[in-house]
Symmetry: C2
Subunit: 336 residues, 2 copies
DNA sequence: CGGTAGCACTCGAGTGTACCGACTGCTAAC
DNA sequence: GTTAGCAGTCGGTACACTCGAGTGCTACCG
């Protein structure tokens, strides 16, 4: 093992130890926890160099080292090669997806909780962007006199519905329904084809109303964020500077839209792990995000992710999001 | 003003001051903030008596007094007579309900956030119990070959839907739909009338499937809890002993079911305000809950509530839940 | 007898000091 | 390049001390 290689091992050890104990790691701790065949003095020399290079930092002169964000980055890039989940957790995931047959919203919500439990961090599940999901079928149904329900089934298995008011009779609603389907089918929710007309003023009015409702709803729904395990954030308090930081984090998660666009943005750039200061958002300076997209029928359907302190078990988090996203995608395959 | 009356005023002042400043209230502070016409020495005597009677407590010998849970209880029972909301907030509530035309779930969720913003505490909105809501209309719709959608419109305006698998053709689905409606209409979701049969084995199978799905869904939906402003809990940290307490609170809110049954339980006993140790649930020992039911068409449709530290502005919280519940009930009136 | 003035007392919070121990950085030797 | 040893640094803890807020009590007054 040459010197550079050993330094990498030292860095790896520091990250692992720090994640485990939350305390600055001393040179001696490194030599004890891993047999490098060198003394603590040598490790100290390596550490000073790692510090010069920006991978480690010292909280104060007479303390051990802690990883910098750059240090975590190196760790993630070099030492987290596709590890599997421990069998216990693997089973938990399998069981969850085997026994569940809820409505999609509930499923996604519970999935976020599953992921939170697996990782002991907060977890998020993001639906697909509105301009990606295609409409499988669209329909208008006369629910009771005066009330029409617009139902849209999406490619990812979601069923969206919207209540409309209309005094048309059954036949007219049926005609509107056909036009509604024609206008939406195979389109994305973002770009509905509004050009369809039936010629009948009243029917067209209902049609326009329905398409408008679906369009506005599409935004709301696609930007929906399922958050699980927020309580973990409070438990991780100590990792964050102040309690105000936690409050702002929770606030951001409530806002949803910031997080959703952030997640999409990261994934668009092919980023799976975003560490501390790599995040542009201020609230996330002390946080890391670990993401994995899930696919339904080969197309991107959404993203699952973990949100925790930078001091996080990245290997485990990566394994967890990978396992969950894969299973989720499989479950969402439309029954055939 | 006789002595007993003055003591009540002292108690009132202590509660108000403590809520405002979060610091133990000294006898002198009382005389300064309210013109009682007596000296601080007299107030001190009153305070010792109030302490003997269990309304006040001293954190330590040389400190001012803080209210006990019993003290808050007296305050709530005697000094919070139906105050209105300040005009600014009143407007905010009116605006919110005037401009909103979302789907019910979103509305309830946003209502909880409104309430959280009004009170600066966490807020919850609980839907009605499944054995209270009646079905207005029920229908089965053939969405695409092989897929049937069960749609149920409820008395509170909610539309529930459930995706079913079935290979029946349009006519058979229509027959099943009629039977479905007959079985559910005007029933509560908890006690659906499963006795309806059409005679056709396949149709009855679909029917049974639909009714089953609705029944199981009913439980999930009715127990749903909308939580807003959880970030406030983190901000209120200091009011709670440890950060672990906050974590457990958040956990409980995620569990939902505990909170829902708790809220229902309180309201069943006609309790609108539950203070600190009055709560049986351990996590809520340092919290108070302020509730108001909302009604749709004269029948109980759900509950809105505020969850904050015992050190809470009860008058304001009561006014806020009252205003919100009233407006919410009005908005949910089925359009006619 | 209720109310008041005055005073001694208590106790938490803040401050200065000393000490301990955990680690490092450096130097000289291997 | 590695190591042993040692001086130096700095945070954390313990302790003593002071300050001041606020009380409880007692003696006194109307």
């Amino acid at each position: 093992m040459d010197a550079a290689e050993r330094r990498a091992t030292v860095l790896k050890t520091v990250v692992e130890e720090y994640v485990r104990t939350a305390a600055p790691v001393a040179s001696q701790t490194v030599t004890e926890s891993r047999d490098l065949g060198v003394s603590s003095a040598t490790v100290r020399n390596d550490m000073t160099q790692l510090e010069r290079e920006g991978f480690l930092a010292q909280p104060h002169t007479s303390a051990g080292r802690i990883p910098t964000d750059q240090g975590y980055r190196y760790f993630v890039d070099h030492f987290t090669a596709a590890g599997g989940l421990p069998v216990g957790q693997r089973r938990a995931v399998a069981d969850f997806f085997a026994t569940t047959h809820r409505a999609l919203e509930d499923l996604l919500h519970e999935t976020s909780q599953l992921l939170a439990n697996l990782t002991s961090h907060a977890a998020v599940v993001v639906g697909p962007d509105a301009d990606v999901v295609r409409v499988r079928t669209a329909q208008l149904v006369l629910i009771e006199p005066g009330t029409v329900l617009a139902v849209v089934v999406l490619g990812n298995g979601t069923v969206e519905r919207e209540v409309l008011r209309s005094d048309l009779d059954g036949d007219d609603v049926a005609r509107a329904s056909a036009a509604f389907d024609a206008a939406l089918r195979d389109q994305t929710l973002a770009a509905t084809n509004a050009a369809h007309r039936t010629g009948d003023v009243d029917v067209d009015a209902l049609l326009a109303q329905a398409i408008g409702a679906v369009a506005t709803r599409a935004k709301q729904v696609s930007d929906h964020l399922y958050v699980g395990g927020v309580s973990r954030l409070a438990a991780e308090q100590d990792a964050f500077t102040t309690t105000a930081t936690t409050a702002r984090l929770l606030e951001m998660l409530e806002e949803q839209v910031v997080v959703v666009s952030l997640v999409r943005d990261l994934l668009d750039h092919g980023v799976n792990v975003s560490i501390g200061s790599e995040n542009d958002v201020d609230e996330l300076r002390d946080c890391s995000i670990v993401l994995a997209p899930y696919q339904v029928e080969g197309t991107l359907a959404g993203t699952v992710g973990v949100l925790g302190p930078t001091r996080m078990d990245y290997a485990q988090a990566l394994a967890a999001v990978a396992a969950v996203s894969q299973q989720l995608g499989r479950l969402l395959l439309p029954p055939s």
